[in-house]
Amino acid sequence: MTEHTSDISRRTLLAGSAALAAAAWAPRRTGAQGVPIRLGTLTPLTGAGGAYGPSMRKAMEWVAGEVNGAGGVLGRKIELMSEDDQTNPEAAVRAARKLIDVDKVAAIMGTWASAVTTAVAPLCWESKTFLTTVSGSDTITQLPHLGYLVRTQPNTQLQIGKLGEFILSLKFKRVFVLAAQTPFAAPSQKRLSEILPKGGSELVGGVIYDKDKTTFRSEIDQALRAKPDLIYLNGYTPDTTVVLKELFKAGYTGAKIAQGYAVNQKLLDSVPAEVTDGTYTATPSPAVDSAGYKRLAKFLGAADLDPYSCQCHDHASLVILAIAKAKGEATGTAIKDNVRKISQGGGGKVDNAVEGLKLLAQGKEINYEGASGPCDFTETGDIIDCKIRFDVAEKGAFKPVKLL
């Protein structure tokens, strides 16, 4: 048996088995007065997404803390059960099963990597647990999730659309894609190949590699043979670090563009500046002008927040408000049926859960606008639009270039 996640501080194995046995026949806690509402968080505390997981979890813990401090939801406290998905689908599936089978959470929030979300999603909709994610792959909302899934991250269509626009604006003619294998690798490449010709440029080739390797020499040789003037690095931090170093060694002097979660400050700090100079990055931009964002930034003590922590803040708020709208019924189905009633439409705009709960208690309608954006979802769970921020790495630091 391969490894189990181990946030075991509160449950030893024996307690877990006993709980499993006892809870197996106990009804789910739904509307009982005073009984805590259990919500699950599943974020990458370790692994390729490890730079974001802890802060994502903190954001959700903060929301829960604020809500509990104001009396909870109809007198019931929020209890967060947190697990580490290790940015690894196998570990995530085991963690999700524990959250669903043992902890009986009404929702799981925060999954980051698209492969993780794809693996966990079927478990959620089959057990009627609500899933909120920050993963971007188109394929995720195309799954038959029956409404038990929403995401606050722009999907691949949206992201690549803006990426293509940016590439065309900089007049690059020959683009090559070096992508790690993920659910969005192939769709991204396809979308880019459709967009670029509209502006007179061309996708001259693409390679999808297995990210768990120590060298990518042959893939880079393939890329260089196509003589691109821009290489799109569509991977995660560990493999992108290796690729950047090897591109440098191979004498590539063209431009590079990557996703902001891969080429982040941590990466810039870990390699010499000449390796990363001139690399463009694309990052979804949170709603930096909103009160919600500002309050979260103050709590987390950072001037510039990553988009995922903002999204997780919104996940927790949305789930809590949906439960309140359902008169305290803390089930995945209730959340599914009520989330859009509090996230969009005509209703008093609120930017935090505590105020939203107050208004709901007075019988008023609300429209939650979050720290990551307006949080308005389509039928399939996608957000409708999002701004993407483009930066460039110069001498080991980022400089903004454009906002699309």
Binding site: T214, R217, P238, K249, A250, P272, E274
Partner: protein, 287 residues
């Protein structure tokens, strides 16, 4: 055409580096008569020992390689004494299984200390040398030199020193060697030290140009075994020939297979050799 030439260049470099652990593996087989899978974990141990020497103590690559050799060699002797030697009377299969279990245990000691993340040596990042449509990295050349020097030292040791000749005698004919007063146990310890030390150098050379992680040795063990088998288990010159053959074959396979299938090349090579010519290229004999 330059593509094939480039692959040949890469293959010769890779093959020369592969020869180092392959020699270690085959030498241990010659004296102790079982395939010692622990070469995999000692390649990793050497790589990390060199990493510590390089990043924590600031040793340059050459000196760090020496550290890799020593640490891996000592570890090889100790683990053999404690774990594998008591099991040798139970037969080659039991010893082979125990070696697999030992490799897993040692690999996880490394993993416990350093985790699964890729780590790179603290060396200047230099651009490859380009010419005639081919490119080769300065680090690759350096690795080549280190490998050749290590092998040269080994050949000299075996040919000209008393202990070296004793080792060859035991490998050739243990009974006769015993009669002549050569202590087989000491020779066994020595061959473990040298063999695992070479594995350690090999592991570090693999990582110098790229990065290392706990799976460094495991990734290469099938190719090491293939090199030894193709060349003829127990024959050191055979290991060198086999390693070059495997190195080039793996690179040439890129012409039609995805990069991930390189390990499959070694696997197929082993099967072919064992079916068609089990003695390998230079035959199953000793040094």
């Amino acid at each position: 055409m330059t593509e094939v030439a480039q692959l040949l260049v890469n293959g010769l470099v890779a093959g020369t580096i592969l020869a180092v652990p392959a020699i270690g593996f085959t030498a241990i087989y010659a004296v102790l008569r079982f395939p010692n899978f622990t070469v995999a974990s000692h390649a990793t141990i050497g790589a990390f020992a060199g990493y510590v020497a390089n990043t924590a103590a600031g040793f340059p690559a050459g000196a760090a390689v020496g550290v890799a050799f020593l640490v891996a060699g000592v570890s090889g002797v100790i683990t053999d004494e404690v774990v594998l030697k008591p099991l040798r009377p139970s037969g080659a299969l039991t010893a082979a299984i125990a070696a697999v279990a030992l490799t897993i245990a040692l690999e996880n000691v490394i993993r416990f200390i350093w985790g699964n993340d890729l780590r790179g040596y603290d060396l200047p990042l230099r651009r490859d040398w380009q010419g005639a449509g081919l490119r080769i990295g300065p680090q690759q050349v350096e690795n080549l030199v280190i490998a050749v020097v290590a092998m040269g030292a080994l050949f000299l040791f075996l040919a000209f020193t008393r202990t070296g000749k004793a080792m060859r005698a035991v490998a050739d004919n243990p009974t006769l060697a015993g009669i002549k007063g050569i202590n087989a146990e000491m020779v066994a310890r020595l061959v473990n030290f040298v063999g695992m030390g070479l594995a350690g150098i090999g592991g570090m050379l693999l990582g110098l140009d790229t990065s290392i992680d706990p799976l460094t040795g495991f990734r290469v063990i099938l190719s090491v075994f293939a090199a030894a088998v193709v060349g003829g288990l127990g024959s050191i010159p055979g290991a060198v020939v086999g390693a070059l053959a495997i190195g080039v074959a793996e690179e040439l396979s890129l012409l039609s297979l995805a990069p991930a299938y390189r390990t499959a090349v070694g696997f197929v090579a082993i099967l072919l050799v064992l079916t068609v010519r089990p003695r390998g290229i230079l035959g199953e004999r000793a040094f």
